[in-house]
Symmetry: C2
Subunit: 250 residues, 2 copies
Amino acid sequence: MVALAVGAPAAADLGQGMDIKALTFDVFGTVVDWRSAVIAELSALGAAKGIDGDWAAFADAWKACYTPALRKVNAGALPWTNVDRIFREELDALLPQYGLAALDEAEREHLNRVWCRPQAWPDSVAGLARLKTRYTLATLSNGNFAWLVAMAKHCGLPFDCVLTAENARAYKPDPKVYRMATELLGLAPSEILMVASHNYDLAAARDHGMHTAFFPRQENGPGQTTDQTADSDWDYVVADLEELAAALGC
Amino acid sequence: MVALAVGAPAAADLGQGMDIKALTFDVFGTVVDWRSAVIAELSALGAAKGIDGDWAAFADAWKACYTPALRKVNAGALPWTNVDRIFREELDALLPQYGLAALDEAEREHLNRVWCRPQAWPDSVAGLARLKTRYTLATLSNGNFAWLVAMAKHCGLPFDCVLTAENARAYKPDPKVYRMATELLGLAPSEILMVASHNYDLAAARDHGMHTAFFPRQENGPGQTTDQTADSDWDYVVADLEELAAALGC
């Protein structure tokens, strides 16, 4: 493990005998802050419609549909369904509870795509740009392919390619997702570094033979207590993407 | 059809009632000049080994394996095989004919990857950069995914995402390839413009409902006579990628 204290110099941590050629990134939470954008757009919509609401609670309730639905798909209890449809269904259920039942189809589709309009965390674009000079950078997200492409474009995230659960028709942490990435990148698992702010994702990547890098985010807001520390001896435990770039010699 | 004389002003051709949101690109030949790079690397290798040879003939013989092998895969006569393996098998067959039987495994793998180290045509990077300001840009190549990622990185081609035949496990012009692109991009076929210097590719894209853009290249060298003109009334017939960008208002 390369357990860096936050902000500690990283130069001594190079050359761990890993022959890493590509980095795969979880995106929602790890690279982008989805919650601030969702709250901001809901707040603006509420203001435009003259409706008050607890838009943070709306955002959190909306996001809460995600994990159970993905588990159902992986368990075979739901047929393959892209995340954009999962979020849209939940949105339609939530709108009446917040006085927004009158939104028309175009407004609903536009609002649903707020997940493609997040803000990158402050270190993300610069960190990725540094890492890109030496490594191939791929997304490895549970989001649907089109949303990831749109998000990368919206945020200016300099990925070399987009890979998502949709390419495997299974969701992380299903091993099929990591195997798909390994095959399409034409690499051995040990040549890939999975980067995520979610311990469950790194555990599955390690089970597949990938290397692992963790840094904490507060994607669920300032009260978040989960995933604030490394649950295991991940290969890199750093503060953010800029520090990961430094640790990898970029 | 928007049949532009080469170099003619394109501004009048905007707004054909097409709601194009993404462009998919053939890459080998259309965006990059593979042949010059293959000849240059073979020549340098020959010089280093003290061997004379007709390296252009080698390059052409090497490329000639491609179409028959892909047809065999699409016909079910060969199981799914990525292009990198098809080229490697042909390379191993050709090397002894050119006095290079002694190349070791690492040299062979490096040489085989010359297909990831082509030169972009002079207008490609600038043309793509202009198009990227308004459209989502995806490769749609018969090359394997890893090679396309490496090639885009080598040439600095600013695609938003990489899609290849490998994602569909079928080769163009099999309809499965175009359908895969449509599904992953989350668009209707009519929202996609297929860009290629090969008429057969555009015919298959049109059959799938995509819009089409053609410009000629001389990927097979100065003597090439095929695909020098549009075989059909493609939506855009232009001189190169810069002119396509102008025709699309970028």
